[in-house]
Symmetry: C2
Subunit: 231 residues, 2 copies
């Protein structure tokens, strides 16, 4: 399997601009061969403005951006894509639009079979996993399923917040324990190349597995076992 | 419409026991005529333990508890109920179980037509509204719809957290603005009697209406306009 994924926890870090904190990783990831990236702005309501933001940023990195919402045929746009970037916003809105536009299976095929590089941020990271069951977003629209694109065999919570030790609200942690979950804190990224997974960025991530204590991993950690354990 | 609702934000306040913070309101609400309350423990996985907790607490207030999960026929249990209490947990699990057991319409009928008093806490407050679209819970199971019991014509976010002014995460507030939402903070309750709604408890609540600035209300405020505006 020659999949290549860059799964980013969030598109902005406090005090910096859009995708600034991961721009070197983006350049390394898409490299020199990709000239144009297909952007998926479905997670936000205002797709035009969102596309302008992404287009401006990717231009500074040397990439053209085509937005899927401007394409006549979204499925065809995926078939033609050299690289894919799905941005953040509301995870339910994003997944519903992916299904409405019938691109879920086509993105999966392009990434897993053809090796098209896939970058996700926040909600775009969430939908890259087996399901959106660990999103923190509100269910503002009703998607036809919670199953997602399924590029990796586990869940990711892209905005994992450490439970406040003084709080009695252990709800989030309790829920996460029901899945094999990678909890990415702000500034975290997961790079997947084939069957190798590496934690990038500046903050630790926490792994939750049902029936086991959770484990912390430092940036740079090899997390490839996440891909093979469940495969 | 002779509906009677007690919609509580959360079942425990820091440092106190289960339903302690609202026990006087519970006694006032169910009164002397109700002898037995139908408890709905669907929001948690361990329904037996949850029922014991609720039964023990209601016993101290002078009420018997029948749990719907112990009834042979859940719909019949709703038909026989003198009073209903739906407890908190995961909102998606709760709503799915309400649909699976075919009690959504029956609870609506009993409360709106027969005047059976309905108490909800947290997820049980969420499902009393038009939809679960403002829950903060994770979508761990897939309900057949996000439409809920519909006892009031607006949404409630039962665990409203004030946005941190130092944070750039305005996501929650932005989403809430899309609905007519009552944001209940910990310790808040909404009492609905027919077409009269009153804010009870110890903390303010915040009202979000699409296209309008949000408004804060003190405990004791008359919020009846919420019921008539959209009816």
């Amino acid at each position: 399997m020659n999949r290549r994924l860059l799964l980013v926890s969030n598109s902005t870090l406090h005090g910096s601009g859009y995708l600034d904190h991961c721009q070197q990783h983006i350049s390394n990831f898409f490299g020199k061969d990709v000239k144009k990236v297909l952007f998926v702005p479905y997670a936000l309501h205002d797709r035009d403005t969102y596309t302008r933001t992404a287009r401006d940023k990717f231009k500074t990195l040397g990439y053209e951006v085509e937005s899927i919402h401007e394409a006549k045929d979204p499925v065809d746009a995926v078939r033609r894509a050299e690289g894919i970037f799905i941005g953040g916003g509301n995870t339910f809105r994003l997944l519903k639009s992916l299904y409405d536009n019938k691109v879920v299976a086509e993105i999966r095929k392009r990434v897993l079979e053809d090796g098209v590089p896939y970058m996700g941020s926040s909600a775009g990271t969430n939908v890259a996993t087996i399901s959106i069951s660990t999103t923190n977003d509100m269910p503002i629209v009703y998607p036809p399923s919670f199953s997602a694109i399924g590029l990796v065999p586990f869940n990711i919570n892209p905005h994992y917040l450490d439970p406040d030790p003084s709080s009695r609200h252990m709800g989030v942690t309790a829920v996460l324990m029901q899945f094999c979950v990678q909890g990415l804190r702000e500034g975290s990224m997961l790079l997947v190349e084939g069957n190798k997974a590496t934690l990038l960025g500046t903050t630790k991530a926490r792994l939750f597995t049902r029936g086991k204590p959770s484990v912390e991993y430092d940036p740079g950690s090899d997390l490839s076992f996440l891909l093979t354990d469940l495969n």
